[in-house]
Amino acid sequence: MTSNKNNWLSAPYTLWSAVFIIIPLCMIFYYGLTDKTGAFTLENITAIATAEHAKALRLSILLSLISTLLCFLLAYPLAMILTNMKISQHSFIILIFILPMWMNFLLRTLAWQTLLEKSGVINSILTFLHLPNINIINTPYAIILGMVYNFLPFMVLPLYNALSKIDENVINAARDLGADNIHTFFRIILPLSVPGIISGLSMVFVPALTTFVISSLLGGSKILLIGNVIDQEFTQASNWNLGSGLSIVLMIFIILNMIASAVFDKDGEGSML
């Protein structure tokens, strides 16, 4: 299989990725760095500094950082429990988290409206239990909830994969050498799961930072995230140059994320699949 005769086999994919991955990204830079007449300009990029855009970007960064952190805090114990359950079928665990995707993502997110509304399901249960009601629909809190709900599987799966690859003998050796649970966790398990952590963090942070759907479904269309601004430039204002310029700003965050995954996860050990 190592002969060079097979090299022509790479042609379809090389061609495909050049046309549909590389060239489209160049197009964003072309549009982002020119104005409507095609002349070079940085205005589309510096437009991020205007009050409205900067506010949207700040809010996006804040909400996505909070939801990434929440996802991590929820997912790490879950991944550890799942790993320790020693389920013989890894596939089963993956299935449980992939299964919800067979119900449309927009409908699942909309269902949270029904659950969270003033007289919704959750508040009815809380009233029944004589607990104070929660009113978070159409607030940033609902957006965070939507982000955590939608992206939690992307945190659980890489963590679960990384944790289940840890050799049990290493953990047993640590125990034999006198390490208690806390030491074993911080000196052995946590460092060995770093590829999964990095992969999970970027798998959640990027879609959360750039979403426009969750904010428009659960934020009551008054809260604008940077994704909403870009979406509007393309679908309503038809200002592709400005939309592309703002996308370039977003890509800076995405590229930083890619570099982090490349540095910490060289062998793809924390991959989702």
């Binding site: 299989m1 002969s3 549909f20 964003i28 995707m101 909309l110 409206q113 007289s119 995405i254 699949l273």
Partner: protein, 262 residues
């Protein structure tokens, strides 16, 4: 005590993940048109679903795109893996880097970049542009599931087949392909699922008048979702669930092979 705490924790997480799904299922039997109140139990949305041509057309588009794009992606991705296996490490690293771009990039950026490509090169927006976009984001799922299997292959078996007189093509299909098949299948299933659930990239690359279920739901959000949509997604979800249970119950446990974690 600790075990009980663990069980409660897992249960709460699953309640969180599956509560919206349960809600949608309940809503599909709700006689009232608004989702805000319960108007009694009914099957009428299931009947009306099959008379709603708009929804059925969107369903047809969604399934067609998911099927064609994931099969094409499985084909291109598998060939790419075979090619990459024979490459120098440096070239392979670059190829894998490019493969990771659609995975790590934001959907909105991928969608916009493809939209700009199609506009600049005068593509006609429609099913074709959606299909090209879906193939593009599906190929990485196939490559990432097939590549680990490729690395586990023992090259000696292929060489042995050649030594025993098999042609390279026969040797490939008799010796290498069966070992890759589980990876290809799981990549195909991931790709199919992702294509089915995609909204953002379709949103930017679809033309006027062509809708998938996702884009149709998005345009309906403002005026209120038709309850037939809940009925349809309940049917889809229940079908997949039943299929999975059947596969899992079968004695040889085929799901393990299909969704085998590589």
């Amino acid at each position: 005590m600790r075990n009980a705490a663990k069980k409660i924790y897992i249960t709460l997480i699953f309640l969180f993940l599956y509560a919206p799904i349960g809600t949608l299922m309940v809503l599909s039997f709700n006689a009232s048109r608004t989702r805000a109140k319960w108007g009694g139990f009914t099957f009428k949305w299931y009947v009306e679903l099959f008379q709603n041509d708009d929804i059925l057309r969107a369903l047809g588009n969604t399934l067609l795109i998911a099927l064609v794009s994931s099969i094409t992606a499985a084909f291109i991705g598998t060939i790419a893996c075979i090619a990459m296996n024979g490459m120098k490490k440096r070239t392979r690293t670059i190829m894998m880097g490019v493969t990771n771009i659609p995975m790590l990039n934001a959907d909105i950026v991928t969608g916009i970049s493809l939209m700009l490509l199609f506009i600049s090169f005068g593509f006609r927006f429609g099913l074709g542009t959606i299909l090209l976009s879906h193939i593009t984001f599906n190929i990485p799922y196939v490559i990432l599931s097939v590549m680990p299997r490729m690395k586990q292959l023992n090259p000696s078996t292929y060489e042995a087949a050649l030594d025993l007189g098999a042609s390279p093509v026969t040797a490939f299909f008799k010796v290498v392909f069966p070992d890759l098949l589980p990876g290809i299948l799981s990549g195909f299933l991931m790709a199919f699922t992702m294509s089915l659930d995609d909204f953002i990239i379709t949103h930017f690359t679809k033309g006027a008048g062509v809708d998938t279920l996702s884009t149709k739901i998005y345009t309906e959000v403002r005026k209120g979702i038709k309850p037939e949509m809940y009925a349809l997604s309940t049917i889809i979800f229940a079908t997949v669930l039943v299929l999975l249970i059947l596969v899992n119950l079968s004695p040889e446990n085929r799901s393990e092979k299909i969704f085998k974690e590589n």
